[in-house]
Point group: C2
Chain length 234, copies 2
């Protein structure tokens, strides 16, 4: 039962000494990300990762404590993709952009959805992200406490939206069908169930279902309402 904040992946030095080893932590994380992006969470196993790196599976354990550690690193690498906007006057646009960007990044690496609820995210990139979100709101005129809450609310919204969307995307990938076909199947299913759940089906005159677009406008709508609610506090 080690204290995970004492000498965690984040504080431990990446490579204690010198030399020119065949593997490096960065290289490992990079390869892991490629595997994850290409094949999802199940595509990453230590043996396959080793194969991809041209090394033995267990060699990885010299650079990384265990698979969970590696996943932490991968998550934080993804969080590093979120753009941090320059300080500008329009806090609303900036905060909105960050939330949108966060959602997009999470969707680009949808395997992350299966990890978010399991390991808390305290890598440097995640922390920098939170920090700059709070700073942004702070500067906009929110109190210290409210800025923190608001930052959490914005990322909760992005995370929640991304996770439900990611679930759909991985379902598509796993089914082996095209997204269009599976969408048709969903539409038929909803229509069939219309008596039980009338509002989930669009009804006879509804436009053809486009789930990705629907997810995006849904996210957008919620984001705007949240920003409205925040703006009202100033």
């Amino acid at each position: 039962m080690p204290d995970p904040f004492e000498r965690s992946v984040w504080t431990r030095p990446a490579r204690p000494r010198s030399g020119t080893p065949a593997l490096s932590r960065d290289q490992i994380v990079k390869a892991a990300l490629e595997l994850l992006d290409a094949e999802g969470i199940d595509g990453l196993s230590m043996r396959r990762l080793g194969a991809k790196l041209g090394s033995g599976a267990t060699s990885i354990y010299w650079h990384v404590a265990n698979k969970d550690d590696l996943l932490d690193l991968a998550i934080d690498a993804v969080m590093g993709e979120v753009r941090i906007p320059d300080p500008v006057d329009d806090w609303r646009a900036a905060a909105g952009a960050m939330a949108r960007d966060l959602r997009e990044v999470l969707l680009r690496h949808s395997w992350i959805a299966s990890l978010f609820g399991v390991r808390p995210n305290v890598g440097p990139n995640s922390m920098a992200l939170a920090e700059s979100m709070i700073t942004l709101l702070d500067r906009a005129g929110f109190s210290q406490a409210e800025a923190t809450y608001a930052a959490s609310a914005l990322s909760s919204h992005a995370i929640g939206a991304a996770i439900t969307a990611a679930a759909w995307h991985t379902a598509v990938a796993r089914s082996g069908m095209t997204e269009a076909d599976l969408t048709k199947s969903v539409a038929a299913f909803l229509e069939e169930q219309r008596e039980a759940y009338p509002r989930l089906d669009g009804g006879p005159g509804a436009p053809p279902l486009d789930i990705r677009a629907l997810q995006e406008t849904t996210f957008e709508y919620g984001l705007e309402r949240l920003l409205d609610g925040l703006a009202a506090r100033l």
Copy 2:
């Protein structure tokens, strides 16, 4: 590559014929939930589930197509715990109550956080939940489309908040430390990192960290802002 909406767990009859079999789907799901609640997602294996049921591991496969199916059933059982409020005048209170309840239910079964991003949630209970949320907002005066968006926004917020909170809870469970000790460790870590991330640390005069309470007020704040933003549309 089967069509998951054609003859999925949801539409397939639970038990085609009669007799008095030793196992039943309900029983299996119930036992699975107990295992999951007690030991988290890693605590559930088919062999352990079989042992708990006093049967062979592979007997389960007669009643359930595979482990993923079983998890779908477990998820939907959890969603069934969310209370659906009676139709009342105060839409804001009702919608808020549902969101709060959803978050609480998810936190009560925090293993669900690792599944949400992987499998879309189309069990009857989830659908009933969505349906009644939309109905509620519809009745409040939102258009059909906006009611749908707003319902998604509210559940996104609840899900996002629950997932980040769940991550913390499972981290506590996995560390083997008490929550208080791990909290102290986090506080120390944040203080140590204060130069890099000044706003994540409360500062010298800050009250002692209470992460659970913080998570709740954070959720509450975001929920109120979201409801404010929604109310402004009416």
